[in-house]
Amino acid sequence: MNQWSFVVAAYAVTFLGGAGVGIASYAAMRRAERPRK
């Protein structure tokens, strides 16, 4: 298999995982800090 396939797979796992936890944490923060009636 082409070496670049392994490189792309490793970066994809890292960036998807990082973006996922970043977006989930941001959404949880916005939801929690939203003013409540």
């Binding site: 070496q3 670049w4 490189v7 490793a10 796992v13 890292t14 996922g20």
Partner: protein
Amino acid sequence: MPALHALANPARFQKIARPLTPVLTWVGVVLIAVGAWAGLTQTPPDYLQGETVRIMYVHVPAAWLAMGGWSGIAMSSIAYLVWRHPLAHIAARSIALPGALFATICLVSGSIWGRPTWGTWWQWDGRLTSMLLLFFVYCGYIALARADADRGGNGRIPALYGIAGSALLPIIHYSVVWWNTLHQGPSIGIAGSTIDRSILWPLPIMLAGFTLFFAGIVLMRMRAMLATAKAEARMARMARI
């Protein structure tokens, strides 16, 4: 130390955390983007590993954050047990999920790197097994802290677990020295690095970027927990009236 105690005041923490969260997160994202661009396009392939050496720029920061994250949990747990600062407990709980995620990324990216380099996806050697144990320890902490919070616990048991789990950190660090493993020995130390500078230079950029991004995520999670606790306290007060 007095400055640390002053920061432990939730209102003061919120005042500092609000402007700091986007700064840390976005500076982290920019540094990661620059580091990834440099690592993928501006460095030569390794004479032995070829292009797969570029996996180092995501694998090493992930390992650094997985271990650094648990160091943060252990230090926060000590602060919670000694000074009883509720923010320390919230900080430890906020680190757990991103820490577990980066332990997973470290294991998966290492496995992907291992296939073309060692000819296998997985090997039960000292470094890989101890890092897998750290991932399980993270999972245990997340479950324990959640169960403790659900039952109205005081956070003492998760804090003790956080301190006990730190025994794994020197085992992971020295695993490649103590045992003859498939994983390479330490190549970056205080004295310098055995990696050629033409390949090494994007790594500090990635390390700085991922660390700032991680700190931004931890602040987001701390703010969410603090706001939830505040809302729950308000509801409890209203229920008593």
